[in-house]
Symmetry: C3
Amino acid sequence: MPLWKIYHPVDAYTPQDKQALAERITNLYPFLPKFYVGIVFQDVPKDSFYIGAKPVDNFVRIWVDHIAKKLDTDSREGWVRMCDKALAPFVKERGYDWEFHIDETPFTLWSIQGMSPPLETSEQYKRWKLENKPTPDAPSAG
Amino acid sequence: MPLWKIYHPVDAYTPQDKQALAERITNLYPFLPKFYVGIVFQDVPKDSFYIGAKPVDNFVRIWVDHIAKKLDTDSREGWVRMCDKALAPFVKERGYDWEFHIDETPFTLWSIQGMSPPLETSEQYKRWKLENKPTPDAPSAG
Amino acid sequence: MPLWKIYHPVDAYTPQDKQALAERITNLYPFLPKFYVGIVFQDVPKDSFYIGAKPVDNFVRIWVDHIAKKLDTDSREGWVRMCDKALAPFVKERGYDWEFHIDETPFTLWSIQGMSPPLETSEQYKRWKLENKPTPDAPSAG
């Protein structure tokens, strides 16, 4: 469900860093099949990256779309803080400035591997989560 | 109206492939002026592309914004399947895994060539569609 | 609050151009702390950039997320025209075609430097704007 897009300075992260950060982000969603979590890193040269009209080479700007689930009003602030905590070793603790924002997009306009993702309450969903892969419902053996 | 952003593995597609896929995507919107359909392809190296916290080089992740038109509730599933069909030769039939999701954004915060796109029922819209280019309404000759 | 993503032809803009355009865009938001305005430029090769299914090397496609503030219905068209005016020297006056659209995303799913941005009416907000940097509220000396 979530797609994370991470704009970062050139050479800010090694492949090992990106792998580790991808794991921390994916672990924010223990209630989802792991393969729902997509992450794209993109390095941005200083002369193409502006915050407050100043070129930056120490900024990490993250943009997220949530698709599967709308967060309850009450859990939003807590969620945002959890994200900050997950990110901290790769932003705050490395001296980068950072910002992120999340949008929520329609469940009904979403497709994985040619299928509309199943409702959370379905057997198909449980199977997708357990097997960590999207499979069609088998025809009943009847 | 639609902006498609296609994240794909490095060298997944030739320019000819991208041209052909762009045509298939554009043809999903026969009711719109062709020039409303924008598509950006971006290759993502394996070490910058994660699905379920695993680096991937066989995944195509597509993100779409629809601006001009909100889809009816009833036509959404059918629409999503049409998209899958349009994409199939360049994802499924090439052995790539894929996912896409669509957001819908406000008609009133949109500009083409310095103009707010016309309502579908207007003469201007018909002209834009027919001529496949955005032109201002001429002052009346009256 | 706003994140601007500017897809442009390869070599369309020098670093000086990008700096100047970033200033024009940032000046669209005099009511916000300057550091709220983030801008990412990305050049797109002709064979990865399609408008109406045609590869383009003269098109600037801009995508914006607004987070801090929803625009009033009445001020939307005026706002869009102001954006066009700010962009004009770098699109229209250089012979580029262009399109932009703006989405509005939830205030409550947003974080800067580990903090939920303050309400506009707060002292913290005034300080952020005045000092052009995000700082936590100091514990009261009380």
